[in-house]
C-alpha cells in the first residue's frame, strides 16, 4: 500500500522528498529499527506518568496486573508513535531533528510502520481490556486515535494550535493508569491529565524557538512559523501562568502530600520566572547567546514534569508505608 501523496506547504523540496520516500525500500531493518518506531523516549514518559497515575490511586492493584497494564499502555503509546512515523515520513525527512528516524532514513518502509502501528494498537487495547477492564482500554484506544488521527493527520499540518489540542494525547497516560486501579475517572486523574495538557504547549514552543527552521522547512504551521517568535514568547508566558493553578490545584486533592506541595510551589515559581525571562527577550538577545534561555526553559520543562509526577509517586509511597496520610 502506498500512502496518498500529501500536499505540503514548503513546495518542491517536500514533494521531492515524498516521491523518493515512496520508492525507497531497503527491506533489511534490524530489531532496533523496529523498536525505534515506537519512540522509546516518549514511551518512557508514558510508562512513568501511567505508573504514577496507577500508584496514586486509592485502590490497590495486584502487582502482575499493574505490570501488565503499564506494559500494554506503553505498547499502545508506542503503536501511536509508529502510526505517526508512517504518516509523517515526508516531513520527518525534511527536519534535522527527525531525519534519522527509521522511515525517513529508509531502514523501515512506511507500510511496515503502518503494519506495526495497527497491529500493536489492536493488541494493546485488547490486552489492556483483559487486564484492567473496559474504561482503561477505551481510554487507551481513544489516546491512540487522538494522537494518530486528530493530532498527526489533522491538526499538525493545519493549525498553529496543533500542539495545544494535540497535547491531550500525551496527557492521557496518568488518566489510564488511574482507571486501571479504580475502573473510572476522578478529579485527581483529570488534574493529572490537565497538568500534562497545559505543560505541553510551552514545552514544545520553547523547542520551536530554537528549532524554528526545522518546522518552517517542513511546512508545519508551528506558532513560531505562522505568528512569529514574539507572539510565541507571549504564548509561552500565558500558558505557563495558566499551568500554575492546575499544578497547585492538585495540592488540594487526596493524592498530594508534603513532597508534592513543596515541589509544586518551588517548580512553578521557577518556571514562571524563566517564562518571564523568555518573554522579555528579543531575537537579537536570543541569537547573541544562541537561545540559551530558551534551551534552559526547555530543559527545565522536562524536569518540571518529571519532578511533579515524581513527587506524587513519593507521596503515594509515603502513604502506603503509613508515614504520611
Amino acid at each position: 500500500m502506498v500512502r496518498p501523496f500529501k500536499q505540503a506547504e514548503s513546495g518542491s523540496e517536500m514533494s521531492d522528498a515524498t516521491i523518493n520516500q515512496t520508492g525507497s525500500n531497503t527491506g533489511e531493518a534490524g530489531f532496533g529499527d523496529y523498536f525505534a518506531l515506537l519512540k522509546p523516549r516518549v514511551m518512557s514518559l508514558v510508562v512513568f506518568t501511567a505508573l504514577v497515575g496507577l500508584a496514586a490511586a486509592p485502590v490497590a492493584v495486584h502487582p502482575m496486573v499493574a505490570f501488565a497494564s503499564i506494559l500494554f499502555i506503553a505498547v499502545g503509546g508506542g503503536a501511536s508513535g509508529a502510526l505517526n512515523m508512517w504518516w509523517d515520513a515526508d516531513i520527518d525527512r525534511v527536519m534535522k531533528r527527525t531525519a534519522r528516524r527509521p522511515v525517513p532514513s529508509g531502514k523501515v518502509t512506511a507500510d511496515e510502520a503502518l503494519a506495526v502501528g495497527l497491529t500493536l494498537s489492536v493488541m494493546s487495547v485488547v490486552m489492556l481490556w483483559l487486564a484492567a477492564g473496559p474504561v482503561a482500554a477505551g481510554l487507551l484506544a481513544f489516546t491512540i486515535f487522538f494522537y494518530a488521527v486528530v493530532y498527526t493527520m489533522w491538526l499538525k499540518r493545519s493549525t498553529p494550535q496543533n500542539i495545544v489540542i494535540g497535547g491531550a494525547a500525551g496527557a492521557f497516560p496518568p488518566l489510564i493508569g488511574w482507571a486501571v486501579a479504580t475502573g473510572g475517572v476522578s478529579i485527581e486523574s483529570v488534574l493529572m491529565f490537565s497538568l500534562i495538557f497545559m505543560w505541553t504547549p510551552p514545552h514544545f514552543w520553547a523547542l520551536a524557538l530554537f528549532m524554528n527552521s526545522d518546522y518552517e522547512n517542513a511546512g508545519v504551521p508551528m506558532l513560531t512559523v505562522t505568528h512569529g517568535r514574539k507572539v510565541t514568547r507571549k504564548h509561552i508566558l500565558v500558558y505557563t501562568i495558566l499551568l500554575a493553578p492546575v499544578a497547585l490545584g492538585l495540592c488540594f486533592t487526596s493524592i498530594a502530600g508534603p513532597t508534592y506541595i513543596a515541589a509544586a510551589v518551588i517548580l512553578n515559581a521557577l518556571f514562571l520566572k524563566v517564562a518571564v525571562d523568555i518573554w522579555r527577550r528579543d531575537e537579537a538577545a536570543a541569537e547573541a547567546d544562541k537561545y540559551k534561555a530558551e534551551k534552559n526553559f526547555f530543559k527545565l520543562s522536562l524536569a518540571y514534569l518529571f519532578l511533579h509526577f515524581g513527587a506524587i509517586l513519593i507521596d503515594a509511597s509515603l502513604k502506603s508505608w503509613g508515614i504520611w496520610g
Binding site: 533489511e28 534490524g30 530489531f31 484492567a132 477492564g133 475502573g183
Partner: protein, 64 residues
C-alpha cells in the same frame, strides 16, 4: 569447500531481528501466563480489581 566463513552482515542483522522477535513473543507469553495466574488467584477472574465488571455481573446475577 569454503569452510567456516564470517557471517554476512545481512545474516547477522536478520539473526538479530529473529532473536528479538523471539524474545518479545516469549515475554508476551510469560505476561499472559502471569496475568492469568494473578486473575485466577485474586478470585473469580474479576475484570477490574477495584472496579465494576466482575462485581456488577455477580451483583446483577444475584438480583435477578
Amino acid at each position: 569447500m569454503s569452510g567456516f566463513r564470517e557471517p554476512h552482515e545481512l545474516h547477522k542483522r536478520r539473526g538479530g531481528l529473529n532473536i528479538g522477535v523471539g524474545v518479545v513473543l516469549a515475554l508476551f507469553v510469560a505476561v499472559v501466563f502471569g496475568l492469568t495466574v494473578a486473575k485466577v488467584s485474586t478470585g473469580g477472574f474479576q475484570m477490574n480489581p477495584g472496579g465494576n465488571m466482575g462485581q456488577s455481573q455477580s451483583q446483577t446475577g444475584g438480583g435477578n
